[in-house]
């Protein structure tokens, strides 16, 4: 029974990673950049939701909505001010360092506004959860909601990218920016839309993460951000299904590793699995192999 319970907890954590990784992978696919500030958008989303609930006394659903709106706006502003001017820079490292600068900026703004002390997050899920197998297997409401939310997001996003006009535009831009522009696609708008979606997902992930692990500090987003990045690479960066699978696997490995091997070594285990996967499949589980041109 304890194994199944660990497995479900792993799925829940993995779902959060998957939602964050979706944001990473979409942004990478379209802008070819590692958005290191993505983890900190999660943290901002969680703070906004917390304040909406405690200070403004709003319902959890309204709080999530506000967090999503704020993060979407934040994502668009960050892209416009910090990343867009560097889109055609001579080195792709330039925008990476700027993203790190944005990450520091968000952390320190949060530090000034909310303080360094951990704040306890109110869970947005009021439901007590399931009790199966005569009470020996308990699944918390947060776990169930997180997993369901992840599946819904995954389905909606796949549909959006495959079937709708803006989704097709996204795929076109990620394939070839110049050609997409010649076909009359608004490249700047599409990239901004991608950042908006990624940041909105980050807000949702932040609220779900802090509902399960209710301690919020300005650095809360950093480690899940890195893990989600690992998940995105694990699944093959740029691939939406890959991010989903990578996130889930990572969460399960981490929780099982923590339970059965060593709690301090869980992170090392996650990274070791990543290394092994990349050595066998150098572009991740579902990544496309790019043929080098001479």
């Amino acid at each position: 029974m304890s194994f199944i319970s660990y497995l479900i907890n792993g799925l829940s954590l993995g779902s959060v990673y998957a939602i964050i990784a979706l944001g990473y992978t979409m942004v990478y696919g379209i802008a070819k950049m590692l958005n290191f500030a993505h983890g900190d958008v999660i943290m901002i989303g969680a703070y906004v939701a917390l304040l909406s609930m405690t200070q403004a006394g709003l319902s959890p659903l309204a709080a999530i909505l506000i967090a999503v709106v704020v993060c979407t706006a934040l994502g668009i502003v960050i892209e416009r001010i910090a990343y867009k001017p560097l889109r055609n820079a001579s080195s792709s490292l330039a925008v990476l360092i700027t993203a790190i600068g944005v990450s520091y900026l968000l952390q320190n703004v949060a530090l000034l506004l909310f303080g360094a002390n951990a704040q306890s997050f109110q869970s947005v899920v009021k439901w007590g959860g399931l009790s199966l197998a005569g009470g020996s297997l308990k699944i918390s409401g947060e776990t169930v909601v997180t997993i369901i939310a992840c599946i819904i997001i995954m389905i909606v996003l796949t549909f959006f990218v495959q079937k709708t006009k803006p989704g097709q535009a996204m795929r076109a831009v990620s394939e070839d920016k110049g050609a997409a522009q010649l076909m009359g696609i608004n490249v700047n708008g599409t990239i901004a839309l991608t950042f908006a979606i990624g940041s909105a997902l980050a807000a949702v992930a932040g609220v779900l993460l802090c509902s399960s692990y209710p301690s919020l500090t300005p650095y809360t987003g950093a480690m899940p951000g890195i893990k989600a990045f690992v998940a995105a690479v694990f699944g093959g960066i740029g691939s939406i299904q890959g991010a989903f699978i990578g996130g889930l696997l990572l969460g399960i490995i981490e929780i099982l590793g923590r339970a059965y091997i060593s709690s301090q070594m869980a992170d090392a285990l996650v990274f070791a699995v990543l290394i092994i996967v990349l050595l066998v499949k150098p572009t991740g589980l579902l990544g496309k192999k790019i043929q080098e041109k001479v």
Binding site: T98, V102, V230, L278, P282
Partner: protein
């Protein structure tokens, strides 16, 4: 001046870099002996040397080899812990601090180089962002392993464990040398500003000589076009590994300096985790990828900046972040470069690129 003119452009440029380092050292040393700078700033001199060495060594991988490494702090961690372990064991055996430090330095460098080689073999098969994430992964693994390592010594010899101190099963006379998350305490404080500057000069000597050698040109050929380099018979794996291992060894030297500057050595995200690796990368990119002198200047400015802004207390890291973003935009955005060339050319004749 006649002699300066006869030298090649590279040699002259290198000599200027050495000159800057030595001049900066002499000025700071004079200021320290006359007591005109705060003790806070004085305490920052060894860390400054550490950052400069790290920035120069990472530039070898990022700028010269052209691969993004996010795990540089891992090699520093290896160098720091092996050398601190050695120094702690030998504290009473070797009493000359200079000799002890020198031996610790050799050990730290050697072990870091071995790690660079072992990690480099699989990592360098990958490309681009995948390579970056795997270096990050190795860096984190090293940090995590150090945190679960317990080593003790008693009359029967050394005891190892990955659980806790009790698990070492030592005799009552045993002492704990490496205490897991609490790290190593009581490392002799052997690092000095002078040693730091000498290490910087040695690092510069190694890196600049490598760049201007046949091997260095092979490494840069791989960076510019791997397939073309391979086709003219350059052994890609060998040269990639060479650059990566030398870089790791130099990071190990910085780690030795770091370990012997503190009485307690622990591995946290901020000193040996990805935060540190990223901090070093910021120095390299801001100073100019592939530009050794730029790395030194960026490392010095960005290390001093938070201290100089200390008067602004809570706002200093905020300002640091904003300055970083603005400097990156100003240095790298194509529009900003165009604007700079238009208004700040100062009679510099533009070089026409050969198409």
């Amino acid at each position: 001046m006649g002699m300066l003119k006869k030298m090649s452009k590279n040699t002259r440029s290198n000599l200027i870099t050495y000159g800057i380092v030595i001049a900066a050292f002499l000025i700071m040393q004079t200021l320290i002996t006359t007591g005109s700078i705060s003790s806070l700033l004085e305490g920052l001199m060894v860390p400054l040397c550490i950052y400069v060495i790290l920035a120069v060594s990472l530039n070898l991988v990022v700028g010269i080899l052209g691969e993004l490494s996010l795990g540089h702090a891992g090699f520093m961690c290896v160098g720091a812990f092996t050398s601190a372990f050695f120094s702690k064991c030998m504290r009473d055996v070797i009493t000359s601090s200079l000799l002890r430090f020198f031996l610790a330095l050799l050990i730290g460098i050697a072990v870091a180089a071995v790690f660079g080689l072992i990690i480099g073999i699989p990592v360098l098969r990958l490309k681009g962002d995948y390579l970056a994430i795997v270096t990050l992964a190795f860096g984190e693994i090293i940090k995590n392993l150090v945190n679960v390592l317990f080593i003790g010594r008693d009359s029967n010899g050394f005891h190892f464990s990955t659980k806790d101190v009790m698990d070492l099963n030592m005799e009552p006379d045993g002492t704990v040398l490496v205490n897991g998350p609490q790290g190593i305490t009581g490392t002799p404080k052997d690092s000095t500003f002078l040693i730091g500057v000498i290490l910087i000069l040695i690092t510069l000597f190694i890196v600049t000589n490598l760049i201007n050698s046949r091997d260095g040109r092979a490494i840069m050929a791989i960076r510019d076009n791997r397939i073309a380099a391979e086709s003219i018979g350059i052994n890609v794996t060998k040269y990639k590994l060479m650059a990566f291992t030398i870089s790791a060894a130099l990071a190990g030297a910085a780690g030795v300096l770091y370990a012997h500057n503190l009485s307690t050595l622990t591995a946290t995200t901020n000193n040996f985790g990805y935060n540190m690796s990223i901090t070093i990368l910021v120095f390299v990119v801001l100073g100019g990828i592939g530009n050794i002198r730029g790395s030194i200047i960026a490392a010095v400015i960005l290390t001093l900046l938070p201290e100089l802004l200390r008067g602004l207390s809570d706002y200093r890291m905020l300002i640091y972040a904003i300055v970083l973003i603005i400097m990156m935009l100003f240095n790298w955005a194509p529009k900003a470069i165009e604007w700079r060339e238009k208004y700040f050319s100062f009679g510099k004749r533009k070089k026409e690129a050969v198409k």
